[in-house]
């Protein structure tokens, strides 16, 4: 329906309405900064609009959207070498905000959990987030990342181990 010029805009707006939240949080978990996530989300949907013709329907729409979003995040990491320092600074600030106030220990643990995920290599980070937060199957993640199911299972296993180790060391 997006290939039809008369309905393209209408369908595009519907698509944004349906997928903006899951895509935003997927991007936000990877890049941490809200401003960066906003830019990448917009770029993702702009690419969806421009390359709507290239979607052949071989996969589901949301795996196509997630794939574009993940590729945009990868571009962001390559373009901005200091993105990790920026992300760590954000999480450190959150921790310092929590320590001053009457906050639940759970909030602090959540931040430390995010810090642990930030330390992972890019591929493990993506796989872990998609599996743990978005609860996608390995087959769906395979369509997004273009990796085999076995590789993804291995990546998820190593990611889990590293996160556990980090949390033990920084408890």
């Amino acid at each position: 329906m997006m290939k039809d010029p008369s309905t393209k805009d209408k369908v595009f707006l519907q698509l944004i309405g349906t997928y903006q939240k899951p895509l935003y949080w997927h991007i936000r978990r990877l890049v941490v900064s809200h401003e960066d996530a906003e830019d990448i989300l917009q770029e993702t949907f702009i690419n969806v609009y421009r390359f709507a013709d290239s979607f052949k329907g071989e996969s589901r729409i949301f795996t196509w959207l997630y794939r574009i979003a993940t590729n945009e995040c990868t571009k962001h990491f390559r373009k901005n070498k200091n993105w990790l320092k920026k992300a760590e600074a954000i999480t450190e600030k959150m921790l310092s905000d929590f320590s001053g106030s009457d906050t639940d220990n759970d909030e602090v643990m959540l931040v430390k959990f995010q810090q642990a995920i930030l330390q992972l290599p890019e591929k493990q980070k993506v796989v872990f987030n998609l599996r743990y937060y978005d609860e996608l199957s390995y087959e769906e993640i395979s369509q997004i990342t273009d990796s085999s199911v076995n590789t993804l299972k291995t990546n998820y296993h190593y990611a889990s181990e590293k996160i556990k180790q980090y949390l033990i060391e920084h408890a």
Binding site: F12, K21, R29, H34, L41, I46, R50, M94, Q114
Partner: protein
């Protein structure tokens, strides 16, 4: 998850994104029109340039007189005999001086210089040259 999004963030995503898409479309169309105009202008300039050179290339060459030296007579390719001018046809005593002939030997001579050379020649020398030209296999007046 510890992260939070601004309250009205998701209400504005669709509107902002569609606006950005249209702006980029417009910009890319302007760029395409600009490049097309540049290409057309460059093609016209190239055609005009070529046309100018083609039209100015046709210049008529000046008429040149080539006088053959009796000593360095060129053998014809076809193998016809070169007929040397007989002694009877030539004035007995006077032979065209080497210097004068060499200046008009088988090479292209500008017409102004040729006029001067011809003006310097005496009547006898001119008759000699005329006889030579008559027997010249490459001239149109070859008499068999």
């Amino acid at each position: 998850m510890p992260y939070k999004a601004p309250d009205d963030f998701f209400e504005n995503v669709a509107r902002k994104t569609l606006y950005e898409v249209k702006m980029r479309d417009r910009k890319s169309q302007h760029t395409i029109y600009l490049w097309r105009s540049v290409a057309v202008a460059a093609s016209l300039a190239a055609v005009g340039f070529l046309g100018y050179f083609i039209l100015n290339r046709d210049v008529k060459p000046e008429t040149q007189i080539v006088v053959q030296d009796s000593k360095s007579a060129v053998q014809p390719i076809v193998g016809t005999e070169v007929v040397q001018p007989s002694v009877d046809t030539l004035p007995a005593k006077k032979v065209i001086s080497q210097e004068k002939v060499q200046s008009a030997v088988v090479k292209e001579v500008p017409s102004e210089n040729m006029d001067e050379i011809l003006a310097d020649l005496t009547e006898e020398e001119l008759l000699q040259m005329a006889a030579m030209i008559k027997t010249d296999p490459f001239s149109g007046e070859f008499e068999q």
